[in-house]
């Protein structure tokens, strides 16, 4: 393989990888507070992207994205208020089933609101043919946007969870809900905030990747599965791990195309998911002791 070709594979891997990483971060927020995995996370991306696309016809792009993020985070809060809170002593199995049900209902609602057409936001800078040359290989400026937003999210979330009172309360809920409640933390509200935050992050991610991946009513599901794979690989709850995991999976996928038919691309990353779950469920950066304490 020529050097330019290898580089092109790497860059296309980085493109996909940054998308997966940004999805994985959304999983981590809800997981960090509640210890559950929100199977409807992918739908937040779709909802954010779709809302921004509809709004961008009436207002400038940055404003449309801002409103899409706000609307989606309200939807996230509503999901917690209407459904998650009403579950009486929920088991993990019940949580899985409810979030799967929610993802289906949101997807079908989107189908009836926006029909099946594939849409996308305009490129933030330049157009689809603009590309930046790096050592003879090409990359779209939108990828840099995705990477930039991804990095910013990791940084801000890290600061938020480590240094703000709310962030620390949220982490306390994750490690022991009863103890957190006894310390005077309103655990119910923390769960609501985590759903809002993950919905907002999901919506932002959905907007940033929309020009590259395009948005359709059912585009959330496949993204969610990739995002979950990446979150597991990086270690659940670890946002830096998610970025590294995302880039790794993206790279593996883009190189797999050179050996295997394109149609099997998704099967590759799923096989990786299953292998990680078998071999090292705590992920690359998660600690084994910590994951042994979780209720799985």
């Amino acid at each position: 393989m020529a050097f330019e070709q290898v580089l092109q594979y790497i860059l296309s891997g980085v493109t996909n990888g940054s998308i997966y990483a940004i999805v994985a971060i959304g999983f981590n927020i809800v997981y960090n507070t509640t210890g559950i995995i929100n199977f409807a996370q992918g739908e937040f991306l779709m909802l954010g992207g779709m809302t921004a696309i509809s709004l961008s016809q009436f207002m400038p792009l940055p404003l449309a994205i801002l409103f899409a993020v706000i609307i989606t985070s309200l939807a996230g809060a509503m999901i917690d208020f209407v459904f998650i809170r009403r579950l009486r002593n929920p088991s993990v199995l019940m949580m899985i089933i409810v979030t799967i049900g929610l993802s289906i209902v949101i997807r079908e609602m989107a189908l009836h609101i926006w029909d099946e057409k594939v849409r996308s936001l305009p490129y933030f800078t330049g157009s689809e043919v603009t590309s930046i040359s790096i050592l003879g290989a090409y990359i779209s400026p939108q990828v840099l946007w995705v990477l930039g937003v991804c990095g910013l999210m990791v940084l801000l979330l890290g600061l938020f969870f480590r240094y703000t009172a709310t962030g620390r309360s949220m982490r306390a809920c994750s490690s022991n809900k009863t103890a957190a409640g006894l310390c005077g933390i309103n655990t119910g509200n923390m769960v609501t905030i985590s759903f809002m935050l993950s919905a907002a992050m999901g919506a932002l991610a959905g907007c940033v990747i929309s020009p590259i991946t395009q948005t359709q009513y059912d585009s959330g599901t496949s993204l969610a599965i990739k995002g979950f794979t990446v979150a597991i690989l990086g270690g659940m709850g670890n946002s830096t791990g998610a970025v590294v995991g995302g880039l790794l999976i993206g790279m593996l996928e883009s190189f797999s195309i050179s050996v295997l038919p394109m149609a099997y691309k998704d099967a590759i990353s799923l096989a990786i998911l299953i292998l990680i779950l078998f071999i090292r469920p705590s992920g690359l950066f998660g600690s084994r002791e910590e994951s042994a304490l979780k209720e799985f």
């Binding site: 019940m94 409810v98 049900g101 597991i232 799985f296």
Partner: protein
């Protein structure tokens, strides 16, 4: 040996016959087509119910096993094996009457393909089941979902499986004498009975399983795996057995459905199908075979008749949420029915009291 457990089976058999006679009397036999298909889906569901309700292990990949059965049968019965006509295996199958040549093509008997489908299913279920069942909760759900998606991607991306078009022209399955599983309308009644016979046999087998020592072991695993293991129950072995059994049920349903419909498409392997199966088991009350069977027939029938239109997926999603929120024990549950009856009675009593008092006042 108590015979009481078979009374519901007899009621079911009587109901099956009664429905057929009713459609005959009213001339609405076209209903039987969907009832036959519902029966095959119900076969998947009672298998999954044993896995989810009794062993407590979720599987979001059972459409994958359905597809393994359906696709193996479809490929093997439509493939022209004349290129292998010189080989010893084909010669042996030919002398046993399990392969027939017609018009220069050599085709295998559906018996061979059915056997192959079941062998492949058992093998895959073992290979996947051993590592997958070590996982719990979210990880188990995701791993089984991943398995289902891989099967979906493979059938969608491989030429021998017909890619997006699926496989068509699958011949009927001549079981014995005049009994044939195929889609032709004149065979509608016998196909209805073949399907329901399979369901009844399957139900009896599963009832015996859950009422046996193995069934008690499974319920103890569901309660607490650690406690079960401390009592000497080999939890991983029992979980694996139930996983394989439920996979075989799904695969068998897929194989018969392929013969019935004369083909199979990738939508049968779709993850949404797996989620539907889980929704139906939840609606039936998880550890309740009869509930799962009733819901399996009822909801599949509603869905197959097209009553839900474009809201089909949304309906099953809403069921999942509603069941978990309002009736986590399922709709068909003896305890729920009892409390509902008690509540209804007290409501009637209070109304009676009120009207009684009203009578005094006037």
């Amino acid at each position: 040996m108590d015979a009481g457990r078979y009374i519901p089976v007899l009621i079911l058999a009587a109901a099956v016959a009664a429905v057929q006679l009713f459609t005959l009397a009213t001339g609405s036999e076209y209903y039987l087509t969907q009832l036959t298909m519902s029966a095959y889906y119900a076969l998947v569901i009672i298998g999954l119910c044993t896995l989810m309700g009794y062993a407590g292990q979720i599987s979001l990949g059972h459409a994958g096993f359905f597809a393994i059965g359906g696709y193996t049968v479809s490929v093997m019965t439509t493939y022209d094996f004349s290129g292998f006509s010189g080989s010893a295996v084909m010669g042996l199958l030919g002398t046993l009457g399990l392969a027939s040549a017609s018009g220069g093509e050599l085709h295998l008997s559906p018996w061979v393909s059915l056997a192959a489908a079941l062998v492949i299913t058992v093998a895959v279920a073992f290979i996947i089941g051993i590592p997958i069942l070590k996982l719990k909760g979210h990880y188990l759900a995701m791993a089984s979902l991943g398995f289902g998606l891989i099967i979906y991607r493979i059938v969608l991306g491989t030429r021998i499986f017909g890619e997006a078009d699926g496989i068509s022209d699958v011949p009927g399955f001549a079981i014995a004498g005049g009994l044939r599983v195929s889609g032709s309308p004149e065979l509608r009644i016998q196909n209805y009975y073949i399907a329901w016979t399979l369901v009844i046999i399957g139900t009896v087998m599963l009832i015996n399983l859950v009422k046996s020592r193995a069934g008690r072991a499974l319920r103890s695993i569901h309660g607490s795996e650690e406690a079960a293991m401390a009592m000497g129950v080999n939890a991983s072995r029992y979980k694996l057995y139930v996983f394989v059994i439920s996979a075989v049920f799904a695969s068998l349903a897929g194989a018969f459905m392929a013969h019935l419909n004369g083909g199979i498409g990738p939508s049968e392997a779709d993850v949404m199908k797996s989620v539907k199966y889980v929704a139906i088991v939840a609606a039936g009350g998880m550890a309740n075979l009869w509930g799962a069977l009733t819901m399996g027939v009822l909801l599949n029938y509603i869905s197959l008749r097209g009553y839900l239109g474009s809201y089909d997926d949304a309906f099953f999603g809403a069921i999942l949420i509603a069941i978990m929120l309002f009736a986590p024990e399922g709709l068909i549950n003896p305890a729920v029915m009892k409390t509902a009856a008690v509540r209804a009675r007290s409501l009637i009593d209070s109304i009676k009291k009120k009207t009684g008092r009203g009578g005094h006042a006037s």
